[in-house]
């Protein structure tokens, strides 16, 4: 906040400048291009790290804010900032982008264009997470479609064109309605205050009539639900994943899908609290359906990437569930799960990519016994698999558990059904792992496999470290989220309650955020006390 240096802007636009710089380099100098792109990504990542350290976890205000008028005529400003919700997604993005560029080292075909697309994509994604202006947000939201579209379409698999067009049109179809809704909000704000502005923070204060809330929510919902993708809108995902090159899949799973869930948190909930509450049954059921459905369908996939893609549907069901239970655990779990999914699924795609590079097939049936030849990969693969199925001690569990906890508090039945997802995820992931990595090598092709090289190790190792870190000590993340999530929920709650009281409904609302912040602090104090004198405390407790 007090940082004068516009660190967000630098991090966001540095890749873009990198891309522009790359334009002037001859396409033949592949090595140089790769190095430069990598350097840009590394620098970008390093610059983004201070955010984590400088971030103040005791405030729900947006930090590192920068606000410059952009298109004054429309009241559009370049307003960026992050809070505890977007911080990690932002960092995740810069991290995964770096990984992806490194993962694309073996691309031979038009590397220059590829790297440019990657870097532009990075700017787009980073921009989405920091935008505090609806217009800006929409702009980045659409901007990142193009490079992604190209990455899938140019460097993808055999059915890439179908997949990429489907991806693009589907996503676009969702987001145009959002644009209408954004415009509606804009004019609504004008009608109420006489000020033309797209500033999210100002529009937050808007009191939207209930009927309008319904439609607006729906408009945003489609955009985000398609992006997530939620259960019945998910069919673009397997196609896109299967056809995308490795890095494309990683980015797609790791970051792009988070845009939808992030959108729900950042926009849908605080803007339309009443409608959000009204839609809870529908959305939670869809989410649960997604969890189970994704898992079941993943189980019978024959293609590795498809399997992971469907598992994404399942995992993101958890995220959505967490967001729409309106309590702090659910929301924090949801956000954490976004990051977890980004890491573990991203890594899974990396691994699938590594296998694919060696064997040029993604069919599970073509593998078997790979562990024998690639023991190091097997370890990483195992870790990612376990993280994906939510093994305690790894990151997946923390998020999943918090989501389930939050869900359980608000709807036991749904929580119970969602928990079955835990069983199913073990089924499909382990089964897949078994078929790919275990058993005897039956396919002679597999006996020629080489274990991962140093570059690939460098891809997987940091992710693994993060996976363990989040699994074992997620507090740095959770504590940074806490204030923002709390603030968000309180905001939603208050608005919802006023709406209800205006409607004359005095029904007892299940309070979402029970001002947990104090609780949390006291618990910290308690720990420090207790560790000093545990016995005394125990005696006190016993009496």
């Amino acid at each position: 906040m007090n940082c004068d240096c516009p660190i967000l802007t630098i991090v966001t636009f540095l890749p873009l400048f990198g891309a522009i710089f790359l334009l002037f380099i001859k396409g033949e100098e592949q090595e140089k291009i790769k190095r430069i792109a990598l350097a840009v990504a590394i620098i970008d990542f390093i610059i983004s790290l201070p955010l984590f350290i400088l971030f103040k976890s005791d405030t729900s205000e947006f930090q590192f804010v920068q606000s410059v008028p952009w298109i004054k005529e429309f009241g559009i400003s370049y307003h960026v900032g992050i809070d505890g919700i977007s911080l990690f997604l932002f960092l995740l993005t810069s991290f995964l982008s770096l990984i992806c560029i490194l993962a694309s080292w073996n691309i031979k075909d038009r590397i220059k264009e590829y790297m440019i697309a990657m870097l532009v994509l990075q700017t787009g994604m980073l921009g989405v997470f920091i935008s505090l202006d609806l217009f800006l947000f929409y702009m980045f939201w659409e901007l990142m479609l193009i490079p992604m579209y190209l990455i899938i379409g140019v460097w993808g698999g055999p059915r890439r064109i179908y997949a990429t067009i489907k991806f693009f049109v589907y996503t676009m179809a969702g987001s145009v309605l959002m644009l209408v809704a954004i415009l509606f909000l804009y004019f609504m704000h004008y009608n109420e205050t006489g000020e033309y502005t797209f500033d999210l923070l100002k529009i937050y204060n808007l009191d939207i009539p209930l009927g309008a809330q319904f439609w607006l929510f729906l408009a945003f919902f489609f955009a985000f639900a398609i992006k997530v993708p939620m259960f019945p809108f998910h069919t673009w995902l397997p196609d896109a994943h299967v056809e995308a090159p490795t890095a494309g899949s990683v980015i797609l799973a790791g970051v792009l899908l988070k845009m939808g869930t992030y959108g729900f948190v950042r926009f849908s909930l605080p803007l339309f609290p009443y409608a959000s509450h009204q839609f809870v049954p529908l959305i939670t059921w869809l989410a649960v359906a997604g969890i189970i459905y994704g898992a079941l369908v993943a189980m019978v996939q024959e293609d590795l990437k498809k399997l992971v893609a469907y598992s994404s549907v399942s995992h993101l069901g958890f995220v959505i569930l967490g967001i729409f239970v309106f309590n702090i655990q659910g929301m924090e779990g949801g956000i954490l799960q976004m990051i977890n999914h980004g890491l573990s699924t991203g890594a899974l795609f990396l691994i699938v990519g590594m296998l694919y590079e060696r064997r040029h097939t993604r069919l599970i049936a073509d593998y078997g016994g790979v562990t024998k030849k690639m023991p190091i990969l097997a370890i990483f693969f195992m870790v990612m698999t376990l993280s994906s199925i939510g093994l305690p001690g790894l990151n997946g569990f923390v998020g999943e558990f918090l989501v389930l906890l939050g869900t359980f508090k608000s709807n036991v039945l749904i929580a119970v059904i969602a928990t079955t997802g835990v069983i199913l995820s073990a089924c499909y992931m382990l089964w897949m792992f078994q078929r790919v990595m275990f058993n005897k090598i039956t396919n002679p092709e597999n006996s020629k496999l080489k274990d991962i090289n140093r570059r690939e190790l460098a891809l997987l190792l940091p992710i693994t470290i993060l996976i363990f870190w989040i699994g074992i000590y997620p507090k740095p993340l959770l504590s940074r989220m806490d204030a923002s999530v709390n603030h968000l929920l309180t905001q939603v709650d208050e608005k919802y309650k006023t709406t209800l009281s205006r409607l004359g409904k005095n029904e007892d609302v299940l309070l979402a955020s029970e001002s947990k912040r104090e609780d949390y602090k006291t618990s910290e104090v308690r720990i420090s006390e207790s560790s000093q004198n545990p016995v005394k405390r125990l005696i006190k407790l016993w009496k």
């Binding site: 396409g27 952009w70 298109i71 004054k72 005529e73 429309f74 038009r110 264009e113 217009f135 929409y138 702009m139 980045f140 659409e142 901007l143 479609l145 193009i146 579209y149 190209l150 379409g153 140019v154 890439r160 064109i161 990429t164 067009i165 693009f168 049109v169 676009m172 179809a173 145009v176 309605l177 644009l179 209408v180 415009l183 509606f184 804009y186 004019f187 004008y190």
Partner: protein
């Protein structure tokens, strides 16, 4: 009978005059100094257009009626004039190469383009149905000829004939409409028509209504809105590519200029009627345009349908009306000029003599062979599809925000859905460019410096004004008042 000759406010028509004179001079130069200036005519006309642009620029804020209220100069017309001149200038830049290559490097070409520009300027500045009519005819006749300019080509002939026959046919309807308005109100002056209608608003005058409807046919034809659009795909396909580029931008903008001025200045009292008609027209226009564009294989034809669809979007601005609507129309027209001309410029560059690169499939593998051109083409396609941060997006955004502001939410939603459909076929071009293997050799490009300038300029416009549209928006807002 004493004759009082009114003062001639030549200043107000100075742009028109300069262009007309230049046109005639170019013809003369071509006749007398062909040897020396044969290859320079493009430069000369370009410079004239630029110079005229400055003249027009000085007219900002003048707001005068001149020549017995036949003609008006206001910011609205200035803005449109600038669009016309922009489009003319770019088309001139793009033509140079083309007409030489096709062996039709005549001074008449530039003359006619300039005359068409004169016609458009008359349309934008016409304050009387007569002036407007003459402007339309001036423009149309020039375009009929231009469409058939490569006259040894059957396609060109056919385009020309179709355009001509249908244009003349529609002119009949439009004139009948003007006649009816005249018969009902006793005047052809826009302001006076409005005054008359306002004063006698107690009665529903069917003649005015029918007259207005007939005008919709006439103007609708010029802007190619469904169901008066059918000429445009054929004509766009058959005409010489620079002419197609020209037709899809300047004259179309002129059509909108007239459309909006006539309906907002002369017939505001009938708004409840025509806005519903236009609502329906807008919806079917964008839908049909976008839908049919999907199945096109010829890129010029595809762009023709896309241009129909864009006309549908722009119609929304007219329906919305008001300052916001007008400003959005102005902006949209400018945006469209940039991106569409850019796209055509690329098509021209890739054209070979005799066979223009007309099929979308011919672009296969362009990304491998000519990466910069490919990027440029993609930028234009994405801009046309309305994807940020390009100018097409801002334009669409502007129009639909105007629509939403005035409560046309359904219209906006339909428009948005349409723009999704449109994404599909614009994407196909990029798909072909980047994701298909080349099916043929690209001939070595003969890039004339002029067309490079044109491409660079359109790209810069498309991108820069997409990211920083502030200035233009301000200008459009300031120009959004019909004097």
């Amino acid at each position: 009978m004493e004759i009082v000759i009114p003062p001639f406010d030549l200043k107000s028509i100075s742009p028109i005059m300069s262009i007309s004179i230049a046109a005639i001079f170019i013809l003369l130069i071509d006749v007398f100094f062909r040897r020396t200036f044969k290859d320079r005519l493009g430069y000369i006309s370009f410079l004239v257009v630029i110079a005229t642009g400055f003249v027009v620029y000085t007219q900002i804020g003048q707001n005068v009626y001149s020549f017995s209220n036949m003609f008006v100069v206001d910011n609205y017309s200035v803005f449109f004039n600038l669009i016309f001149l922009l489009s003319t200038a770019l088309v001139i830049l793009m033509s140079d190469n083309y007409i030489k290559q096709e062996g039709v490097n005549y001074g008449e070409y530039y003359t006619l383009i300039l005359f068409a520009t004169v016609g458009m300027m008359l349309m934008a500045g016409g304050a009387d149905l007569l002036t407007i009519f003459l402007g339309i005819e001036m423009m149309s006749i020039s375009l009929y000829v231009l469409a058939g300019f490569t006259r040894d080509k059957l396609r060109s002939n056919e385009a020309s004939l179709k355009y001509f026959l249908l244009g003349a046919f529609v002119t009949g309807f439009m004139l009948y409409g003007i006649a009816m308005l005249y018969g009902a109100t006793g005047t052809t002056n826009l302001k006076e028509i409005a005054t008359f209608i306002t004063e006698n608003s107690g009665q529903l005058n069917p003649m005015i209504v029918v007259g207005a409807s007939l005008l919709i046919i006439g103007f609708g034809f010029k802007i190619a809105c469904v169901p008066f659009h059918k000429w445009s795909p054929d004509v766009y396909e058959g005409s010489p590519t620079p002419v197609t580029a020209f037709m899809s931008t300047g004259p179309k903008a002129a059509g909108f200029a007239v459309f909006l001025r006539v309906f907002l200045v002369a017939l505001p009292d009938l708004e409840p009627k025509w806005s519903i008609i236009l609502w329906v027209l807008a919806v079917i226009t964008m839908t049909v345009g976008n839908l049919v564009a999907i199945s096109q294989t010829n890129i010029k034809r595809m762009l023709a349908y896309s241009s129909i669809a864009h006309a549908g979007y722009a119609l929304v601005a007219i329906i919305v009306g008001g300052e916001f609507g007008i400003a959005s129309l102005l902006f949209y027209m400018l945006a469209y000029t940039f991106m569409n001309l850019g796209a055509f410029a690329i098509i021209i560059v890739l054209g070979k003599k005799g066979e223009e690169n007309a099929n979308i499939e011919d672009f296969s593998g362009l990304g491998y062979k000519h990466p910069l051109l490919a990027i440029a083409m993609c930028i234009f396609m994405f801009s046309l599809a309305g994807i940020p941060p390009l100018i097409g997006f801002i334009g669409k955004f502007y129009i639909f925000s105007a629509a939403i502001k005035s409560g046309f939410i359904v219209l906006a939603v339909i428009g948005m859905i349409n723009s999704v459909i449109s994404v599909y076929y614009y994407l196909r071009v990029t798909v072909v460019i980047y994701m298909k293997k080349p099916i043929r050799e690209f001939s070595p490009l003969s890039l004339s410096p002029l067309i490079i300038v044109a491409i660079i300029f359109t790209i810069c416009g498309t991108v820069y004004f997409g990211i920083f549209p502030s200035k233009i928006i301000a200008f459009a807002q300031q120009s959004a008042v019909l004097y």
